[in-house]
């Protein structure tokens, strides 16, 4: 008994000994805070102060004028298409990479990062070169009445390209850690492929999948470079929120520009809140991992 009591009183002492000196702690925490203030809090504050510079009614007018509403609609439409499509791609890619052995697997895994590595502007240009109206494929599509560049499909495709690594990146380590044992067990118990996917694989990856979808959605909302190249900036038709912000800004309509930009900030904050809520849930359920 005395030994246990002794051990109980020890931990705080031991803890102090292993941690860094207090001065370094203060320095690091201070630096982090300073960085946050300089690069996050102050700019965010500025956006809102600019947005509300001319008062509430101007703010509401700026975000409810028809072009702004069209931009919000287009952005939400893009997200609504991109996220499910990338969810399917992401699960398929992660599945292929973690559960099968095939040639070129490592290459495929590194290629997954390409959309992150390449500048979004180039991504946009690739699609213009591929399906623009001056290319044979593009003009063939044009004859069929399908317009991709300077219209919604182009925006969706460019956004899909830029955001597709998010979900696969999230799932691959998770699925690698989980291995194939459970699927094999289900197989020997007589389950069919779709039953294994629905009852075993999907439940095992659902939190990772949701997490990846949130990141993918956040990036889709904010994507500027690739979308800017393929959209053609047609007001009320091919402007997403970020493009609309840019147009307003270049017209020296700063207050309206910041007002619309504040919408993006709200969406971003919402994403962060949902994400941290999920992280909490993740931790609570991590014993299932």
């Amino acid at each position: 008994m005395p030994i246990i009591q002794k051990a109980k009183s020890k931990p705080p002492v031991a803890k102090k000994r292993v941690s860094d000196p207090i001065s370094i702690q203060i320095l690091l925490i201070g630096l982090t805070l300073l960085f946050f203030i300089g690069f996050v809090f102050v700019p965010l504050g500025l956006i809102f102060s600019q947005a509300f510079q001319k008062g509430w009614s101007f703010y509401l007018d700026a975000i409810s004028e028809p072009y702004a509403i069209e931009a919000v609609k287009l952005t939400l439409l893009t997200v609504a298409i991109v996220v499910p499509v990338n969810a399917v791609f992401g699960v398929a890619a992660a599945w292929a990479i973690t559960k099968f052995n095939f040639k070129g697997k490592t290459a495929l895994k590194s290629l997954l990062d390409l959309p992150f590595a390449v500048s979004p502007v180039i991504a946009g240009l690739i699609f213009v070169l591929l399906v623009g109206s001056r290319t044979p494929f593009g003009s063939w599509l044009g004859e069929l009445g399908i317009k991709i560049i300077f219209s919604t499909p182009g925006i969706v495709i460019a956004t899909i390209f830029v955001t597709f690594p998010f979900i696969a990146r999230e799932l691959i380590p998770l699925m690698e850690a989980q291995g194939r044992d459970e699927e094999e067990a289900a197989l020997t118990l007589g389950a069919k492929g779709w039953q294994i996917f629905g009852k075993i694989t999907l439940p095992n990856i659902r939190w990772g999948l949701l997490y990846g979808m949130i990141l993918c959605g956040a990036r889709s909302i904010g994507e500027f470079g690739a979308v800017s190249v393929v959209s053609g900036h047609i007001r009320g038709q091919t402007n997403t929120i970020p493009l609309h912000v840019e147009i307003l800004y270049s017209e020296y309509n700063f207050t309206a520009s910041f007002a619309v930009a504040s919408l993006l900030v709200f969406l971003a904050l919402l994403t962060v809140i949902v994400k941290s809520g999920m992280e909490k849930h993740f931790q609570k359920n991590s014993f299932h991992l």
Binding site: D181, L187, T188, G190, A191, P203, F287, H288
Partner: protein, 357 residues
Amino acid sequence: MGIELRNISKTFGEYKAIDDISLNIASGELIALLGPSGCGKTTLLRIIAGLELADSGKIILESKDTTNLPPREKNVGFVFQHYALFRRLNVFDNVAFGLKVLPFRERPSRSEIRDRVEHLLKMVQMDWATKRYPSQLSGGQRQRVALARALAVNPKVLLLDEPFSALDAKVRQELRRWLRKLHDEIHVTSIFVTHDQEEALELADKIVVINKGRIEQQGSPQEVYDHPANAFVYNFLGNVNVFHGRIKNGKVSLGNHHLDAPDELKNIEEKPSQTFVRPHEIGISRLRSSETDLTGTIREIRLHGGQIGLNIECEGLDAPIEAEIPRELFVNLQLAKEVQVFVTINRVRVFTGDYEI
């Protein structure tokens, strides 16, 4: 007839995992596939289950050719080394899984499923844990649930891939005895893979020793242990002293000493030989009892439960001998480090150089 394997072969790239294995297993038997890691035993098990495809050969299960059937139609139960329980399902749903995924027409009613699962969980003594999740169970408990899950679909054969190797020693032994008892009750043809000779000897009706993708020997534990077919089997089943020497005119050389060769090797003129002596078949005394005794000095003393392990350096031998004697004898002889003793070799097995380890 339970299971018949005919000329199974499997290569991974250049590596021959299974090299033309044929094996017959009678209905209701409990078989151990025993071999060192990488010998192909797990691959063989996975081929029987259909998780791996053989390059050639046939698998006949209860007189039905199942070689090319997908795993779900093979009707085998598989127990994995690391349990592979469904982490998102509780114990009840884990065991019920195999019944719930049956096609609608074959699926038992909900109450039948419940009865069957409860019966199985009672059998594996896990009926108190139906609502628990796998992560809330210990390794031994998980493996028992995994066993119940595999048995739920009434498999024709139960395959166990190193089922106890992830457990600690005490639980392993408990579960081993419990599995033997369970098998005596339900009599499902079972094959388990292990690299632990003790486990195989204790548990199995029949042991199949595998090395480098080939069967070295098969037989009852007694047979395999007492009459190992070759040097590999002898070496693999338990601790052993190996002496490399020559066999010449009916005598085997053991360092500078010569022992009578076994009868079947008496006629060999001259050949390199390997002489095997089990540590517990070595006699130790303080007085010389015969001409052939070796003189040695105790260098190390180790405790093996009720036995004492001695490391003895003998005159005329290049390597020390490992001997095992009962603790009582050790006390009676008043042995200690650096004490001189006489070593009697009671029983040797001699293999001529044809075999390789």
